[in-house]
């Protein structure tokens, strides 16, 4: 079954391209400067130049190589993307399964809290968290994960509600399986498909929100290069060097497109026609407007 999934995923050419792009990004982020010949934080006197044979994508106000900084910036972007999606899933899924499985009071309380968080735009929840915790990579992950966990909880709850009374679950119960065993070994594997898609969707959103926070100066503090931070700097030098503000956005957008494509193709491969309905509608746009 798993190979069948993989085969169906690989038949979509564009998602293979997307995957290759992300892997290349990951690799280049690990080779600090050895591809471009410049370290990401090394300054020079060539400030704010456009694309050139030496500095492929130009340089910034301190003469640092933009290409190197973009590659290095992929590190924190991908880390925040994976980290916040993982953390959101780890918090949201158990909550949703518990709410769906036990129903009644647990369900009512959990869903009210979730509705409130969903009523607030992601970037706002993240902003409040960052204001509270201070800017750092870990806090950024905590902030975005907190804003994204409700989506996981909602999906997990819906899935659990759907299969809770099905024969194979009842059969497990009749055979004497405990609640925990049923939830982890029976319910969870059966509701996994939409959650995996949501993981990719969250990762893509996290990249945008993280860039938005960095753009506001509330992200990962400098000198560590981030895409959002580069765009924030670029805004100040728009008149001197327009290229400065273009490339980070292009790389960011391509990364998000790649993740979107993989998400869409996974959804198709798993045959999940599950309509996210209001859940996706409650996030009008990417949440970083």
């Amino acid at each position: 079954m798993r190979t069948e999934l993989l085969r169906r995923f690989l038949t979509d050419r564009w998602s293979v391209v997307a995957l290759a792009f992300l892997l290349a990004m990951l690799l280049s982020s690990l080779l600090n400067g050895s591809l471009t010949g410049f370290e990401a934080t090394a300054t020079s006197s060539d400030t704010l130049i456009g694309p050139s044979p030496v500095h492929w994508l130009g340089s910034d106000e301190l003469g640092r190589d933009s290409a190197s900084r973009l590659m290095f910036g992929a590190r924190s972007s991908l880390l925040v993307a994976a980290g916040s999606a993982l953390a959101a899933a780890l918090v949201g899924v158990p909550l949703g399964v518990l709410a769906g499985y036990f129903g009644r009071a647990v369900d009512a309380i959990a869903m009210r809290i979730i509705d409130v968080i969903l009523a607030v735009p992601t970037v706002l929840v993240a902003l409040v968290f960052i204001a509270a915790l201070g800017p750092s990579t870990t806090n950024m992950i905590i902030a975005i994960a907190s804003a994204s966990a409700p989506q996981f909880a909602r999906l997990a709850r819906a899935g659990t509600l759907e299969i809770r009374e099905r024969d194979f679950v009842l059969a497990e119960r009749a055979m004497g399986a405990g609640h925990l065993t049923i939830m982890v070994r029976v319910v969870l594997p059966n509701i996994l498909a939409p959650l995996i898609v949501q993981f990719v969707v969250t990762a893509a959103g996290a990249i945008v929100v993280a860039a938005g926070l960095s753009f506001l100066g509330l992200g990962i503090p400098p000198p560590e290069p981030t895409w959002g931070g580069m765009l924030q700097q670029a805004k100040a030098y728009m008149y001197q060097s327009p290229w400065y503000g273009i490339f980070p956005g292009v790389v960011l957008t391509l990364t998000v497109i790649a993740l979107d494509r993989i998400g869409a193709s996974l959804r198709r491969a798993m045959g999940s026609t599950q309509d996210l309905g209001r859940a996706s509608a409650s996030a009008p746009g990417r949440g970083a407007t």
Binding site: V123, L216, M238, T253, A288
Partner: protein, 315 residues
């Protein structure tokens, strides 16, 4: 229907209360107090204590919360910890600017989204269908603030057509000035938001086109244009209202990042300033307003939806 509206309204107050509790809990769980921020980096403990006493920050958190809530019910939203202005006044001043931006942005969103949605919905495999799909994927992935930056680069820096930083010029005072100052941020939002809306239009349109009543209309000899306008679009646009309403709701709460990019004086930038300066009373007040607006819009959307589509019944 009426029972449904009443029940939804009944949920309004508890949800708002819950929201305030969550925000309070978050803000007070954090290291570093607002008094510390107000007093500055190198304040003596005595100075901090004095400030805490003055703003009631030395009270237990639950007591502070209840006091705040009590004042709120009497119409007193408190004063900004940073500049001493009344919170209600500060928010009230920004609301028109945000409303103007939100309305213009939504209008542009619809203008862009509906034709694109129709193109993809009717002919997804055609060359323009594919092209539009590519645009939609790009627009969805590109963050609004970057789109905004590109628009500034092109229309302000290169062509010098529009001001790079926006002021709030009320539409009723100077329609042209208002457009000049609001169109850039509105366009930045619309280019992103329309991709979501267009996908909704496309998917509901392509679904509707396979229904029996469309075949009936065609069989009766109606032209394709009439089928599209009179039969298909009317039905396809109903679900779109949901997403447009929710988008409007979130925009009315202030487009934080976009407003900061364009230095647009709306609710979003107010909230950003408040969060940046740890202006607790202002954060409380504005978050409350943002959530209230969103919930009200949500309710309106659901009611409108039921009104437009009588098949929908809420139990």
């Amino acid at each position: 229907m009426r029972a449904y509206v009443i029940r939804r309204l009944g949920q309004f107050i508890p949800v708002l209360l819950l929201a305030t509790i969550i925000v309070w809990a978050m803000l007070f769980a954090l290291p570093g107090s607002p008094a510390q921020v107000l007093a500055g980096e190198d304040a003596t403990p005595e100075q901090i204590a004095a400030i805490e006493a003055r703003y009631g920050l030395d009270q237990p958190v639950w007591l502070q919360y209840l006091t705040w809530l009590g004042h709120l019910f009497q119409g007193d939203w408190g004063t900004s910890l940073v500049n001493g202005h009344a919170v209600a006044q500060l928010i009230g001043d920004r609301l028109p600017a945000t409303a103007q931006l939100a309305v213009l942005a939504m209008a542009l969103t619809l203008v862009i989204a509906v034709p694109l949605g129709i193109a993809v919905g009717l002919h997804p495999r055609s060359w323009y269908g594919r092209l539009t799909n590519g645009f939609l994927a790009t627009g969805l992935a590109a963050p609004t603030f970057w789109i905004g930056l590109l628009l500034i680069l092109l229309l302000s820096v290169k062509l010098n057509w529009l001001p790079a930083a926006s002021r709030f010029v009320p539409f009723w005072e100077s329609p042209v000035g208002a457009l000049r100052h609001t169109i850039l941020p509105a366009l930045a939002i619309a280019l992103h938001a329309s991709t979501v809306t267009a996908r909704f239009v496309a998917s509901s349109l392509s679904e509707v086109m396979h229904r029996d009543f469309i075949r009936t209309a065609r069989a009766k000899g109606a032209s394709e244009g009439t089928v599209l306008r009179r039969h298909a679009l009317r039905n396809a646009l109903v679900p779109t209202i949901t997403v447009v309403g929710l988008q409007l709701g979130s925009l009315l709460g202030g487009a934080v990042v976009t407003e900061v990019v364009f230095a647009y004086p709306g609710l979003g930038r107010l909230l950003f300033t408040a969060i940046d300066g740890r202006d607790f009373s202002l954060i409380q007040g504005s978050v409350l307003v943002v959530i209230a607006i969103f919930i009200v819009l949500n309710l309106l959307v659901d009611v409108l939806y039921a009104f437009l589509d009588p098949r929908i019944r809420f139990d």
